[in-house]
Amino acid sequence: MRTELCGIELAHPIINASGTFDAIAARRVFGDALLERFPFAAYISKTVTLAPREGNPPPRLWETPAGLINSIGLPNKGLARYLAEDLPQLAELPVPLIVNVMGFTGEEVAELVGAFSEREEVAALELNVSCPNVETGLVMGADPGETAALLHRVRPITDKPLIVKLTPNATDVVAVARAAQDAGASAVSLINTIRGMALDPRSGRPWLGGTTGGVSGPAVRAVALAQVHAVAAALDIPTVAMGGVQRGSHALDLIRAGAAVVAVGTESFRDPAAGARISDELAALAANSGNSLTEKPLNC
């Protein structure tokens, strides 16, 4: 099941979704067993911003039918401390490292891209233009013009692959994806979480400290498949697909819909080793169904 993404060699097509697996914390909890049995073929970091962020006030989580709403608010230590403290530890992972970055202006994104571009531990960058918890993210990734402008600004800065993470909260995701491709994106990834909300059963006020949040998990799987199918059919660059993947069959669906690589997010919360299980299930399915995963997907 070896495959590749923008020239990055991958042992199998399953990686993690940004912000759903903290490899440094997981190593504190599981020790080096994590490295010996690392569940993903590449590791994508949680979103890094220029300045440190505390994130949203708690509560940050609400469980929904077959899903989860989160309003985490992109807490992170900021670029400087990330480069100094986290990158060296992440370099010890047995897989390629992709850093997910987000800025509130093109200038900020350019600074982030430039900084990581110089670090050879970093195989690629993912641009988060789609986090529904942060206004700007929604705007940038929802508008083809904004997305194109951002890519024109940062594409020249680095030779590393640039993966644009699309927001599902847009009228025409395909148009945004096309704009990203035309402006030089190396790949697109989708879906990010879908805007959602919950009320405190007792007070009737918003449960989440951030008022609204993003829905993930099995509840969004069918929406993800529709968007991946539409985007992959319209683009020539590879698609990293995610959204509610729990089993190899769900990954196979996304690959059949045109995805090059599949990311696992919320399911890792239920089982830290879910990525490895899903990759094994996918390999078994591909073997049985005689389905070569590299074959051109059915274009329906």
């Binding site: 599981f30 989160n70 830290p272």
Partner: protein, 271 residues
Amino acid sequence: MSSATAPQRVLAPFGRRAARIIERRVYGAYVVLRCADPDGPRPAAGQFYMLATAGWGGGEGERPFLPRAFSVLRVPAGHGLEFLIEDVGPGTHRLCELQPGEDLLLVGPLGIGFAPPSEARRPLLVGGGVGIAPLAIWQDELGGAPALLGFRDAPRAEGARLLADARVATDDGSVGHHGLVTDLVREELDRDGHAVVYACGPPAMLEAVRALCSARATPAQLALESGMACGFGACFGCVVPTRRGYVRLCVDGPVLDSAELETALVAGAGH
């Protein structure tokens, strides 16, 4: 007390594993599940596990979906793990229905447990409701310590049988002291303040204990609760505010030094 030198964070095997339930006991309003965990290490007192079952989901409102966090109650002589569970919603309801022979799906041990008493201070255990769970294993590890336990009513007060040397308070006065367990704590600390308090219970109780102890400069370790999705630091969802900012309770807790807290009232915790 070999245990006093026990590590506070025991590493968890990577991934989720099945643990066969070998015994189910009822203590009034609580259920105790004992499971075999041959592949798991002996946890430290105060650590917790994320629990689920086969066929998780399908409860009230199509939930539960995510695993639920439970402190280890006790490590029975020999091996295995015990958990104390109160049915407060779809996840705990499903767990309370489990029978011997069925499997728990668990990840753990997780988090950081209690630190041994420093100096020559005497340990004092303070628990409320299901919060008594981590105190039972800690009492075992310490080789004994007095416990002050608060419960809402008599059915819950039956949980006191899980600890030795316990004084009980109930909100409705049906058992022991009629009032809050913190009345007993104040009494104890006034009698002899040279103690270190280990407390676990509802946010309001923990906050009262924190205030009492800080007023007396009595060290206290509080085992907090917050809503958790993963339990191993992956989601950043379980943060609680401390003097050094938000910390993830699942990896930097659940036991926190009360000195780190301005308040033990955690948003979204408790029922």
